[in-house]
Amino acid sequence: MENLKKILEEKTTDLNNDAINWPDSGGHFGNYGGCYVPEILMHPLEELTTAYQKAQKDPEFINELKHLLKAYVGRPTPLFLAQRLTEYIGGAKIYLKREDLNHTGAHKINNALGQILLARRMGKKRIIAETGAGQHGVATATVCALMNTQCRVYMGTEDMRRQSLNVFRMRLLGAEVVGVDAGSRTLKDAINEALRDWVTNINTTYYLLGSALGPHPYPQMVRDFQAIIGQEARAQILELEGSLPNLLIACVGGGSNAIGLFSEFLKDSNVEMVGVEAGGRGKELGEHAARFHFAGGGRPGVLQGTFSYVLQDLDGQIAATHSISAGLDYPAIGPEHAYLHDSERVSYVTASDNEALEAFQLLAKLEGILPALESSHAVAYAIKAAARLSKNQVVVVNLSGRGDKDVHTVADVLGVEL
């Protein structure tokens, strides 16, 4: 009995130690991840991996990125104690990592900036990207304007409808926005179309993928570029509180803001982490985007270059998803999250459309902050979690973006005519 307990304990520590070193050279996080793409893309992905590995070690690249993150994006972002929200709930202290204060209004720019510098090093003259909520598209259009690079963004027509403000922003920034009318007309379909463009124009084009998704090296690269969130937050909370937080919370679409916050803390075994998926409006397949919800159709599978949890029917056809937030409305989750889920290092929960809407309004009234509907999912769970924790405990919520883009959607749902 004692022995077994010891072995089990050893195993968990092992997993925790492992988590820091993934992926392996093939891009695997445990069994997940990898490179499931047509042969045409294999060599270009190898080239991308090599270029990225070189850049990572090049002081010139690192310094330029650091400089732009500070001077252009406005980093570091504050870690803000949400005092009124904390008092209102009466539980743990709630800190907000203010990624909404980044230039362009979300964490997406951290990654877009890193990748555009990489694309420039690789001599690529044309950038393509996909976007769901439009935040990654805006971030990409922005860095392309900054670097004087041609930019095309694919976006599902359903997303173009609900995030029309961001469509106009991208066009103002000089990007070409191409509507995708296939499938569910959301993020997944935009990625398919971007991949088709990429295989066709492989020699000239850099695919600037926006989340910790897709084939190797994207999940690793996007995580690394977003890791600045957690690096800052860890130093900030140590300075503010003198100790590590008890709980980290982030919403999970593809998983980039979440892994960006989590990765720096994975080695801190006392820090709990929760990823919040979109619970949508129901438990049936098609009504949510909760990939870890087995009864709701989430099972390991291959979609768009990677092996991870995927919402699908019994025949392996990819399911439709629903979320009030376009950025969480995607049937697969980044492969590192699949690994962190199975190893139980991170827990995954859901927040419904309605819970997110309530959190959106509550944060606006109590803190004067309009969170993105994506981030509102994290806030919604934080409200529940903080209530269960004691006053001397600390929660850090990743406020991944600002909610201006969502004002129309919220007005619609609340029946307000603008």
């Binding site: 047509p38 296939a182 398919n192 295989v199 099972r299």
Partner: protein, 262 residues
């Protein structure tokens, strides 16, 4: 020796090249697919590539995307496609390669699929988005059931990759004519000749060229340097354009005859 190897041997003896049409199973419905396979074989198709419809065909152009949608709307399932092949086998020995994205096969169960595929008389499997790096497990399963895994090589494949892939490949090698998605194109690129020559340095397997081949002239052109030509979108587009179902077999039959003619 399986049906694919036998076919290439027979073609070799008569100094002929392989015509390999692709159709999406279930487009316009499975009964039509069954009849189309038999008709194509009768009219000069040497090997059939039978597509398994998948909701997210990221390597396909609009023509095959629409075929996939039609097949899925009809409720086409992998198990029914396999059953269809068993019916075909009662009357025809035309080699059949199952052409699929990985996820539908994975969810069916790789072992179960291989067993059933061997039972019904499928000869090979080509998985568009299964890179050789990730194929190990499935490859060894297919080997046990004596099924060929067909690999793709592309103009972007480095010589190192070609060396690696040709070691794993069975049946024949699918040389992708260009960087891009499936679809019809007017002129073939020169890069494919170079690709076929590069592959030849590493392998004695037959090489078939596909992607964009859509006319008899292009088939002939490709067959000057390769062992076969794969024609997909042209045939699928013809199936789509045929509004009168009673004429479908005739139409596709004469298209195959035309593509196969000297």
């Amino acid at each position: 020796m399986n049906r694919i190897a036998k076919k290439f041997q027979a073609l070799n003896k008569t100094e002929r090249k392989a015509l390999i049409p692709y159709i999406t199973a279930g487009d316009p419905d499975l009964a039509a697919t069954e009849a189309l396979i038999l008709k194509m074989a009768e009219c000069g198709a040497d090997i059939i590539e039978l597509g398994v419809p998948f909701s997210d065909p990221m390597a396909d152009g609009p023509v095959i995307q629409r075929a996939t949608e039609r097949a899925l709307t009809k409720g086409t399932k992998l198990i029914d496609i396999l059953d269809l092949v068993s019916r075909v086998r009662k009357v025809s020995q035309v080699p059949i390669v199952l052409f699929s994205y990985f996820n539908p096969l994975l969810q069916f169960g790789l072992e179960k699929l291989a067993k059933k595929a061997a039972e019904v008389g499928i000869d090979g499997v080509l998985v568009t988005d299964l890179s050789p790096e990730e194929a190990g497990n499935f490859l060894s399963i297919l080997c046990r059931y004596n099924l060929d895994m067909i690999f793709l090589l592309a103009p972007t494949s480095s010589d190192e990759r070609i060396a690696k892939v040709t070691k794993l490949a069975r049946g024949f090698i699918y040389a992708v004519s260009r960087t891009g998605i499936t679809g019809i194109q007017q002129t073939l690129s020169d890069t494919v000749v170079e690709l076929v020559l590069r592959i030849r340095k590493h392998s004695n397997l037959p090489i078939a060229v596909g992607f964009g081949i859509s006319s008899r002239e292009q088939v002939k052109e490709v067959c000057c340097y390769a062992d076969g030509a794969i024609v997909g979108s042209r045939i699928v587009a013809e199936i789509e354009a045929c509004k009168d179902q009673t004429q479908l077999l005739e139409k596709i039959g004469s298209l195959i005859q035309e593509l196969a003619s000297d």
